[in-house]
Amino acid sequence: MAIKDYIRERFFPHIWCPGCGHGTVMNSLLRAIESLGMSKNEIVMVSGIGCSSRISGYVDFHTLHTIHGRALAFATGVKLSRPELNLIVPMGDGDALAIGGNHFIHAARRNIDITAIVMNNRIYGMTGGQFSPLSGYGTMATTAPYSNIDHAFDTVELAIAAGATFVARSTSYHVKQLSKILRDAILHEGFSVVEVLSQCPTYFGRKNRLGSAVDMMEQYKNDTTPIGSKAKKENPDLIERGIFVQKEMPEYCVEYDKIIEKAMKGN
């Protein structure tokens, strides 16, 4: 199938601003799914609220556009009640890690087979540029007019600490890597987290004088490096890209099947 077979063409052009990285994340995700040859009926996409969450309206899967921060909890219900389905949960940085932070760590802890994508633009795009838990110290936002004193989470470290069994990071610039990582994340049996640095030129870019979408992508190119690279040793400020964790652990639904077996035997 071609990429366009996976989208709801009638809703295009989409609502995202010119140069918004979220469109590129969708592009890479669709390519990952296409390369796996998955049927549209076996995929459920669950999203919350935010610019990022609007992705679910554009893809031709079973789509569940829920409430702010709770996508992983809805997805947990879908997955556990019908484990053969493939769950993909794209979230904004605020959606996933502020209001949804608790669901994020608990889904990771359970190792339920869901692919979580954090579309990190370091800002609340949908509500117009307030700081998020990933904005970071010293950034500017409409609610941090004197500069932000909140420190940022490191999504990767947080996911690893919470027990996610697949953890990766890429950017909207590194699309070949991104597609490959998303593919691996979908194939992974367990909770997978893919953080994607995704530019919001409209708010984060403008507020922090980072230039155009193109300029912001140049920064992704220059400010990131493959995991464990020589460059990282020389310049610790570089952000690492790649797969940080990929390990096998008992998956939640599989474990629950064992509970059912036990219960039915009358143990």
């Binding site: 809703f11 549209k40 009926n41 076996e42 459920v44 669950v46 679910s56 309206g57 031709d60 899967f61 079973h62 789509t63 569940l64 556009h65 829920t66 409430i67 709770r70 909890a73 809805f74 997805a75 947990t76 219900g77 879908v78 997955k79 556990l80 009640s81 019908r82 053969e84 389905l85 608790n102 669901h103 608990h106 629950y256 509970i259 059912i260 036990k262 219960a263 039915m264 009358g266």
Partner: protein
């Protein structure tokens, strides 16, 4: 046959009713006085190949059951005041997206953490208006374990029939009290199953287009029809829309599908109402004390009767108005500051003849409490 007779807590009667109704998925978070429901279901559900999950909070629990309902399963969660407060946003989502699901609230005293191990009926209005925006909601209650069972089954039936969340508003006394329950044999109470679309693969399916009879056939996530579910106002395919006509029609539909069926949704019991001059109106555990008063005073020649409401929302306006028509006075017996009282006053012809017999101190209202207030109302002094 003996196996069908149990001596149980109300919470267990609710579990039995849910399983009888075909519950397949439960998500919850422990909270007194509802916790036994989660505990029992964690044991019982896997025995029938079904699933239980303890979520990280009540927001997640409510969210998870909505997800599981969309894969075609009968779902439930159970909680009490603080947890019910947390569920409100997702409950509104279930209203908007028309998701069949059952939410049990075993009431305790509030606000806030309140008085966890004591009884209250303070969440009646929260059940009605807890979530934001105009909407209709179904809320059922019961005063004894046989009825807890029956109303739980009824709750699932209504949820499936109208594609709506249904709230079962029990209370601490009912939840924890033990009494006899006879579990009906299979088939004794009719069950409404999920109505699934007959539309074939490849043919346009409208998840949000009501049939002529008002019902909306569903398609399970994972099956051949792919559609969108959202909490935004949406068209008949489930896609977001801000078209004023679409918005207007949807909110009308959401309200009308419940309010136009008040008669079908109304459950109640009446005791000695035919010639009653004093009408007691009550529900849940307080209806037990009210019934006690009626049965005490009838043999003494007092023309007193009881209307026991089992459907609190949509409020049965006509039933209450008719029942109170010829009454000299109406006394609403409840354990809050007059939440159903307000409704009764709203619907009767002479609101001034409606009085409140209540308790708000976490202590179960007794027949004596009710009689004391009745004597005042009847001008007999205490």
């Amino acid at each position: 046959m003996k196996e069908n007779i149990k001596f149980v807590q109300g919470n267990e009667a609710c579990v039995e009713g849910a399983l009888y109704a075909g519950l397949e998925f439960f998500a919850g978070y422990p909270i007194t006085p509802s916790t036994e429901i989660a505990e029992l279901l964690s044991y019982r559900l896997p025995q029938k190949g079904c699933r239980f999950i303890q979520m990280e909070d009540e927001i997640a629990s409510m969210s998870a059951i909505i997800g599981a309902s969309l894969t075609g399963h009968k779902v439930m969660t159970a909680t009490s005041g603080p947890g019910f407060s947390l569920m409100q946003e997702a409950l509104g989502y279930a209203v908007m997206a028309e998701i069949p699901c059952v939410i049990v609230n075993v009431q305790r005293g509030g606000p806030s953490t309140g008085i966890p191990t004591h009884v209250s009926q303070g969440d009646v209005n929260q059940a009605r208006w807890g979530t934001h925006g105009d909407h209709a909601i179904v809320t059922l209650t019961a005063s004894n374990h046989q009825d807890v069972f029956a109303m739980t089954v009824e709750g699932f039936n209504i949820a499936e029939t109208y594609r709506t969340p249904v709230i079962l508003l029990f209370d601490e006394v009912i939840g924890h009290m033990r009494e006899r329950l006879v579990v009906p044999v299979e088939g004794e109470i009719p069950l409404v199953q999920r109505l699934r679309t007959a539309v074939n693969e490849g043919v346009d399916y409208h998840p949000y287009l009501p049939r002529e009879d008002g019902r909306l056939p569903m398609s399970d996530f994972g099956d051949v029809h792919r559609y969108n579910v959202t909490g935004l106002f949406h068209d008949m395919w489930g896609f977001p829309s801000d078209n004023p006509q679409v918005v207007h029609d949807l909110i009308r539909h959401l309200v009308d599908k419940i309010n136009n069926n008040v008669n079908q949704i109304t459950n109640f019991k009446s005791y000695y109402l035919d010639d009653a001059e004093s009408v007691l109106i009550s529900y849940g555990s307080s209806a037990r004390s009210a019934l006690h008063v009626v049965e005490l005073l009838r043999p003494r020649g007092e023309r007193i009767g009881l209307l026991e409401l089992q459907t609190l929302w949509p409020f049965p306006d006509q039933l209450v108005r008719r029942t109170c028509e010829h009454a000299k006075h109406v006394i609403v017996v409840e354990m809050n500051m007059g939440q159903v009282l307000q409704e009764v006053r709203r619907v009767v012809d002479q609101p001034r003849k409606v009085f409140l017999a209540n308790r708000i101190d976490g202590v179960f209202i007794t027949p004596r409490d009710i009689r004391n207030i009745m004597r005042l109302v009847q001008g007999k002094g205490v």
